[in-house]
Symmetry: C2
Subunit: 233 residues, 2 copies
DNA sequence: TGGATTTCTTGATCTGAATCAAGGACGATC
DNA sequence: GATCGTCCTTGATTCAGATCAAGAAATCCA
């Protein structure tokens, strides 16, 4: 890698744990790579060869059953970490939902570097704990929420996560944003079919809770109502 | 704590990362405590005050919606770690499903100790990554599997996790075991109602796939068939 | 510019699991 | 060993969301 110090996610990715000199060493291990929309970086069940930081773009983490049923188990944003460190196999696939830029490491070299840099491992631990919290929150959604509640929860979550800028501190909930997911993918995140997703969105629009300027764009018109509908704890 | 070196989970809990002298220091920070079945140690939304290692017994990790709907998002076994380190609030509750023995630490003192003991944090990271894998596996179950598939998956998972003895290496799948969950709790893990759980179990029994000697006991009579029914990847 | 393709919406119908409603079996207590 | 309370099973019915089936609206590209 040329120059990590100039990286846009330098202060928000796990690299923020490192001093300039350490960062340079890590930089030697990684390479910047562009991936295009639809490309799969890691395949479920394969050996865990690579891990990466996301510089730009959005990716999905998914698991599936042999007959083709697929569940999206995570959506990854810039500054997030992807891949399965410290494990032989990757239990899930990682696929780009948009064109994306990554900073890729071989898992083995990343593992070795991390083991010698406790501050980096600490950041990774914090991120993994947050990811686990999010996964469990989603288990509640998948196990117990109705279709309307699921859609409302997803829209609010997206408005928050898309609003977290690279500058980690600032975070503003967006009231208008482009969904990084198509209808099918929304269904795969929510455990619903594409038709149910479409119907629920139409109803929220008809009720004046949201606007749908075009296929991908959502505007939140009544956030309070959306929050009530989301059945938050 | 009196003597960690004699602890039954000394070599399988995260403490296995520590040398004898470090273990003694950690031991000073913790206290052994018995909790009885039904007792809740951590409440969803409260400040994260304590973390603990499980010495014996089984506990549940759960999240709920204000109207009372509850999802069990984790089942915790001996040698596992509970609580939310490095975070202000606990997003979930932890409740004993059986009488249990714990080795409890105040979160702040545990956090401080862990930050100075990278090997311990590394173990914790590994465990958290495994827990995340399990949570995602369960998201697939909750989002995409049928009632029969869910029950089959749970029975197989229980036969494996209950078969992991304290001596981390050895692990044998049990063909007869006592469920640590009642029917309602099975429903809360699987995103099903108690009636559906009961019906599915009755059907598996009628089909000769399992036996149900009494309320809590399960015997697996045709593991291959149960595996097929579980819709594993 | 105009078809072809993909993606999304809407309607009609079906179905798996939820809900409603009894009973039955077990364990505890006296 | 009768009585109570809890937990579990089974049956009848309902319903939310899946499935099946067209169309409509974007997007692609030739």
């Amino acid at each position: 890698m040329k120059d990590c110090s100039q990286c846009v996610v330098r202060n928000s990715a796990i690299c923020a744990a490192l001093m300039a000199d350490e960062l340079e060493v890590l930089g030697q291990l990684g390479r910047k790579q562009r991936v295009s929309k639809g490309q799969t970086l890691v395949w479920e069940g394969d050996d865990s060869i690579i891990v990466a930081n996301v510089i730009s773009g959005i990716l999905k983490v998914s698991m599936s059953i042999s007959d083709g049923r697929e569940q999206i188990v995570g959506v990854v944003f810039p500054a997030d970490f992807i891949g399965r460190p410290f494990g032989q196999k990757s239990p899930y696939s990682v696929t780009a939902l948009s064109d994306a830029e990554l900073c890729i490491f071989s898992r083995s070299s990343f593992d070795a570097f991390a083991r010698n840099h406790p501050a980096l491992e600490h950041k990774l631990l914090q991120r993994t704990l947050e990811e686990l919290d999010r996964a469990r929150e989603w288990m509640l959604l998948l196990g117990k929420k109705t279709a309307t509640e699921r859609i409302a929860t997803l829209l609010l979550e997206m408005s928050i996560r898309l609003g977290e800028t690279g500058c980690s501190v600032e975070q503003n909930e967006l009231n208008e944003f482009a969904l990084p997911l198509d209808r099918q993918q929304m269904g795969d995140v929510l455990g619903l079919t594409i038709e149910t997703v479409s119907r629920q969105l139409s109803r929220l629009k008809a009720d004046g809770v949201i606007g749908l300027p075009d296929r991908r764009m959502v505007s939140i018109q009544d956030r309070r109502r959306l929050q009530d509908l989301s059945a938050a704890a």
